[in-house]
Amino acid sequence: MAEVRLSNVSKAFGATQALSDVSLTIPDGAFVVLLGPTGAGKTTTLRLIAGLEKPDAGDIAIGGASVLADTPAERDVAMVFQQYSLYPHLTVRENLAFPLRSPMMNWGEAQIAARVAEVASVLRIAHKLDNKATRLSGGEMQRVSIGRALVRNPRIYLMDEPLSSLDAKLRADLRVELKRIHAELGATFLYVTHDQIEAMTMATHVGVLDRGRLVQFGTPREIYENPVSTYVASRLGQPRITLLPADAFGPAPPGAVQIGLRPEHIQQGSGQPATVRRLEHLGDQTRLHLQMGPHEIVTLAPPDSRLAPGDTLAIQPQTPLWFDASGNRL
C-alpha cells in the first residue's frame, strides 16, 4: 500500500483536454471516490495512474517515487475495468490466477490455488471456477473481474465503476465487501462512480472533477455540507439541491445570485406559502415537490406528514448556501 500523488497532471486526446492541471494526493490507506459526469476525466485519471496513458505534463508518484518511466506492470497497481473485463479464452479459475502467474510474481501453484479459492469464496463465485469466462452472467463476470484485482496485494486498487452493472442487492453486498477489504487490508483505493450512495458510504475522500479539472477534494461530509460551487453541490444529495434566484425569499447577501437549498435548509411551518404539487413515497423518505410562485422546490416531508397535493405549506430558508454569478460559493 502506498500514497499516490498527482502533481499538475494534464492530458489531451487530440483537441479534447481530458485533464488539465490536476493535483491530487491519495493518502496511504484512503478510499478516494472520483465523482463527475461522463467526460469529466475520471477514467483518464485511472488510466494515467495505471500507466496505460502518459500525461502530457505533470508527474505521478506512487509511494513517493515518480512512476512516469515505469511500465504498468512495474507500477504494481490493480485495475477493474468497466467493460471487457475477463479473458474470454480462459476459465474463471485461470482468469483469477492470471495476475498471480505473471512474470512479476513468483508464486507456486499450490499458493495460487489457495489464493484463488479464498477470493472466489469472498465473491461467492467458487461454484463457477471451472466455467468458461463467457458462460457467466454480467454480474458474475464483474465479480470475477473484481476478484482478479483482489488476488494481488497491489499498492493501489483502481476501480472504474465496478458495481454499475450489478443488481441492487449484489451491489449493496459488494459495497460492504469492498469496504471490509479496505478496512482489513488497509488497502488504498481510487474508485470511480456515478452512484452517490457508493460515494457517501465507501469514501474517506471524494474528488469532484469538472471537465478535466479537480474542483473540490475533501471528505464526503465536507463535499456535501460545504460545496465550493453549484456544480459540486449538485453532485451529491438526494433529492438534488434546489437552486433558485437569490432573492426568491427576500433580501440576499451582496454578490449572491443563486440560493441553494437542500432539504435540511428548508424550514417548514413558517415563511412564504408554497403549494404541494406532488408527493413521492420512497419508503424511507417522502419527497415533496412544491411550487412557490414561478419556482419549483424539491424537499423532504416529515415522516408523519399528512400533506396532500394542493395543500399549502409555509417554508423559509435556514442557513442556505449562497452562490455568485459564476456559480461559486460566497
Partner: protein
Amino acid sequence: MSSYSVTEPSARSKSVAAVLVVLYAVITLLPLLWIISTSFKTGPDSISYPPKAIFSPTVEGYVNLFTNRTRATTEQLATMPPPANFAEEIVRKRNEVITGPSRFGERFLNSVIIGFGSTFLSIMLGTLAAYAFSRFKVPLKDDLLFFILSTRMMPPIAVAIPIFLMYRTLGLSDTHLGMILLYTGVNISLAVWLLKGFIDEIPREYEEAALIDGYTRFQAFRQVVLPQAATGIASTAIFCLIFAWNEYAFAVLLTSGNAQTAPPFIPTIIGVGGQDWPAVAAGATLFLLPVMIFTILLRKHLLRGITFGAVRK
C-alpha cells in the same frame, strides 16, 4: 401445441436447405471422386468407354507414380530373382522392372516445405504487422496499408519476368528459400489485411488488463491476443496454404531440378511411357491430402468464433 420461434427456421425450410447443401456437395465432390477412383484403376480401365463405375481396384497407379520402370522380356524376367516386394510383383506382371524411385516423393516434399514454410512465414509476419497496425500509432498508417494491399491489385504473374531476372541474379532461382519468400510476398498482403480485421475486433482492454496484471506487451500479445485471434489466424493460414500449395505458374518458371514442387511435376508423368492416367490421378489424390487434412484440423476454428459472447456490452 407447437411453439413458434421467429429466429429458428421451420422444419420445411431446414429440409430444403439440407437438400440444397447435399446437392451442392455432390456436384463439388464428383470430380474429386473421379480423380480418386481413377487413381485406383488400371491403365485400360481408366480410359475405357463408357467409364467404369465398378472395377477391381489396384495400386498400380501409385506404384507407377513413385517408380521409374523399364520394359523387360519374358526371358530377362525369368532370370531375375523373385520380386522383393509387392510393387515389383505388380510391375513384373506387365513385363516391366523397377529401375529406381521416381522424383515424385521429393517433389511432394518440396511442396510441403515450400507450402507450409511460406504459410508459417506469412502468418508470423502478418500477425505481427497486423497487430502493430491495429494497436500502435504507425506513421503513414493508411498509406502503408494501402501500399500493402496494392501489391494484390495485379496478378502476381505479371511481374514474372522481373522476378525471374532478380532471382537469377540473387541466386534464389530453383531454391526452397526463393519459393518460400516469393509465396510469402504474395500472401502477406492478404494475411495483414485479414488479420488486422480480426485483431481490431479484440478489445484493447484485454491487453491493458494483462499489462496491469504484470505482463509485458509481448507476453500480453502471446497469452491474450493470440488465443483470441486463433480463429482468424487459422482461416488466414488456410487461404495462404491453398495459394502456395496450388501455385503453378511461378513454380514452372522458377524451379526445375532442385526445388520443383508437385504441381509442375504431376503433368510430366503423362509424358513418361504413354499416358499414364492412373499415375496422374494418384499424384493428384496424394497432392490433395495435405490441404484437406490441414483444413479439417483447423475446421473447428473456422466454424466457431471463440470470443463470441465474451464482451459485456
